[in-house]
């Protein structure tokens, strides 16, 4: 659906996007994650043909965006809710954009209903609240009834009602079989909506994987073990290639071994276990771990460590 190859963007000496390659597959919600300043918006502008890459290329269904004819039928995007003339009414805003792609007036009325702005269609967009502006931006994206939808930080600055509305909209768009590519710096938001994620930091690809694989592959995953002979278990794990730390409440946190392996080892030695539970990191934790270094760098703290990228089932760069 979307394919980026070696996508690079320099602004003077600043490298906003650095040799970025990824694919967004059809029929699912793909989250585009990264800390603020990671290069997400720049990447999306290049996808939309608004900014020209310094190097590399990005295509939509094998074609560069700029060669699409009446692109609204293929791709609907909301890159910034404020990308409208604030003196124009909501209806005229949508209508002028619809006309440019030969979309019927009837569809404008329909879209105004879908995004819940029908009652304020004649009001100037400049008077809209942030949430209404966001809805109008999404209305533009829906005009051509496209198969691919791109949203840049759609929940930014929205109240809880607006957030839920957008979340439901993305889910229903995906349920209709559409492809949704949505950026966010909030992992928690993606945990609820995305099937797979592309994580970038400092303009570079950090991970391209399913949400599930990201959690399972996280170094934050461990197995919690409780036993009256915790020292023996710790030694046993170490001998068999695991590592362990004692938690504050006396439980042992083991990494590098599965719960099954630990259980079998303990049974072989005749050690009774009181608890043996695999602990999955939350998506948030997996994400924090992944982007820690790019965030630290951006905060101006020199990071001497190499990026800690845990092994994953998905493709990792």
């Amino acid at each position: 659906m979307i394919e980026a190859r070696g996508l690079t963007k320099h602004y003077g000496a600043t490298v906003a996007v650095d040799d970025l390659s990824f694919e967004v597959h059809g029929g699912q919600v793909t989250g585009f994650l990264g800390p603020n300043g990671a290069g997400k918006s720049t990447t999306l502008r290049m996808v939309m043909g608004l900014d020209a890459p310094t190097a590399g290329a990005v295509t939509i269904n094998g074609q560069p965006y700029t060669s699409l004819r009446n692109p609204l039928f293929h791709v609907g995007a909301m890159l910034e809710a404020g990308a409208l003339h604030d003196g124009r009414s909501a209806f005229n805003h949508l209508w002028s954009i619809a006309q440019s792609n030969g979309i019927a007036r009837k569809r404008v009325t329909e879209v105004l209903e879908i995004v819940g702005l029908a009652s304020v269609a004649k009001r100037r967009a400049g008077q809209f609240s942030m949430g209404m502006g966001q809805r109008l931006g999404i209305g533009v994206a829906l005009l051509g009834d496209p198969e691919l939808l791109i949203f840049d930080e759609p929940v930014n600055g929205l109240d809880p009602d607006g957030i839920i509305w957008i979340r439901n909209l993305m889910r229903s768009l995906a349920a209709e079989g559409r492809t949704v590519f949505v950026s966010s710096h909030l992992m928690s938001e993606m945990a609820l909506t995305a099937d797979s994620v592309i994580v970038i930091g400092k303009g570079k690809l950090l991970a391209e994987t399913s949400v599930e694989a990201l959690i399972h592959g996280s170094a934050q995953n461990f197995v919690r073990v409780r036993s009256s002979r915790i020292d023996a278990i710790a030694k046993l794990c170490e001998v068999n290639g695991g590592a362990s730390t004692v938690e504050a409440d006396g439980a042992l946190a083991v990494t590098g071994l599965t719960a099954k392996a630990i259980g079998d080892l303990a049974a072989a030695k005749g050690i009774a276990l009181h608890e043996l539970s695999p602990q999955d990191a939350s998506l948030e934790e997996a994400y924090m771990e992944l982007t820690r270094d790019s965030v630290e760098y951006l905060a101006g703290v020199p990071g001497s460590r190499a990026p800690v990228v845990p092994p994953m089932k998905g493709k990792v760069a």
Binding site: G27, S67, L68, L84, G87, S96
Partner: protein, 278 residues
């Protein structure tokens, strides 16, 4: 893709290629008529053209008895009744600039280019819509100004009819001057993207450049008549009595030179709009 479940516009996809530019034209027409600045800039231009011209004619009539014979001999009734057009150019310049900088200032341009990635289609559609609207309104205003002005001048029997030599040319020429000036402004708007910067540039081209050129040695006086404002206004000023004047180009030659400036600026704008990030 289960399009059947959704009310879909995609199914109504019937436009053949040739209609694409027409669609962009329609879109730009909707844009230009749905913004207030279109109305107030055009209204200002019309009021200045008609009102100021009428005032100038009235003053001329009032002072008639004090005028020297030589003044009366060189009096051009047609251009006098269109004097207001010179002030209306400020309003038209603002209109031309805003057509494009309004989109850059608000971020609308990115929505526009996402919908129409063939950016030059957007630029040319704006040029066409702007030209038609501006020429329509200014030529109507100029005709009204002419008839009101001549009505006032007829009190001293110095008015002319629309059938007089060069009368129609002066009226249409004034509207044409304003339209081309607007296109020059639109072009500067595309190049500079900023409303204030582009308006300053228009004012600079029209008023500052001629003043600066005045400081040039007299051996270079010949370039004066090729300056944008001087060349463009030749079609308004030069009546039959100025035919021998060396200070101005022939009316249509001047308009041609003025149009070339607009074409040059729009060409630079077209190159930039294609190459720069939106």
């Amino acid at each position: 893709m289960t399009a059947a479940q959704v009310p879909t516009a995609a199914r109504a996809r019937t436009q053949p290629w040739g209609h694409d530019f027409l669609n962009v034209l329609k879109s730009e027409w909707t844009k230009i008529r749905s913004i207030r600045s279109t109305y107030w800039t055009l209204l200002t231009a019309a009021v200045l053209t008609i009102g100021l011209s009428a005032i100038v004619c009235a003053v001329f009539v009032a002072q008639f008895s004090h005028l020297k014979a030589s003044d009366i001999a060189t009096f051009n009734a047609s251009s006098t009744s269109l004097t207001g057009g010179i002030l209306a150019q400020f309003a038209i310049a603002v209109f031309g600039v805003l057509v494009i900088t309004g989109e850059y200032a608000t971020g609308m341009i990115r929505t526009t280019f996402a919908a129409v990635p063939q950016r030059l289609n957007v630029l040319w559609a704006k040029v066409v819509v702007f030209s038609v609207v501006t020429f329509g309104v200014t030529s109507a205003a100029c005709f009204v100004a002419f008839f009101i002005g001549q009505g006032i001048l007829s009190a001293k029997h110095i008015g002319v009819s629309i059938g007089a030599p060069n009368a129609v040319r002066t009226v249409i020429g004034t509207a044409l001057y304003l339209t081309v000036l607007g296109l020059l402004s639109l072009g500067l708007g595309v190049v500079l993207r900023k409303t204030a910067g582009a308006i300053c540039a228009v004012v600079g081209v029209l008023f500052v450049v001629p003043v600066l050129a005045g400081f040039l040695p007299s051996s270079l006086d010949a370039i004066q008549k090729f300056l944008p404002s001087n060349a463009g206004q030749a079609i308004i000023d030069s009546g039959p009595h100025q035919a021998g004047a060396t200070a101005q180009l022939a009316p249509w030659v001047g308009m041609g030179v003025f149009a070339l400036y607009a074409v040059a600026v729009l060409t630079i704008g077209a190159l930039r709009i294609e190459r720069r990030d939106a």
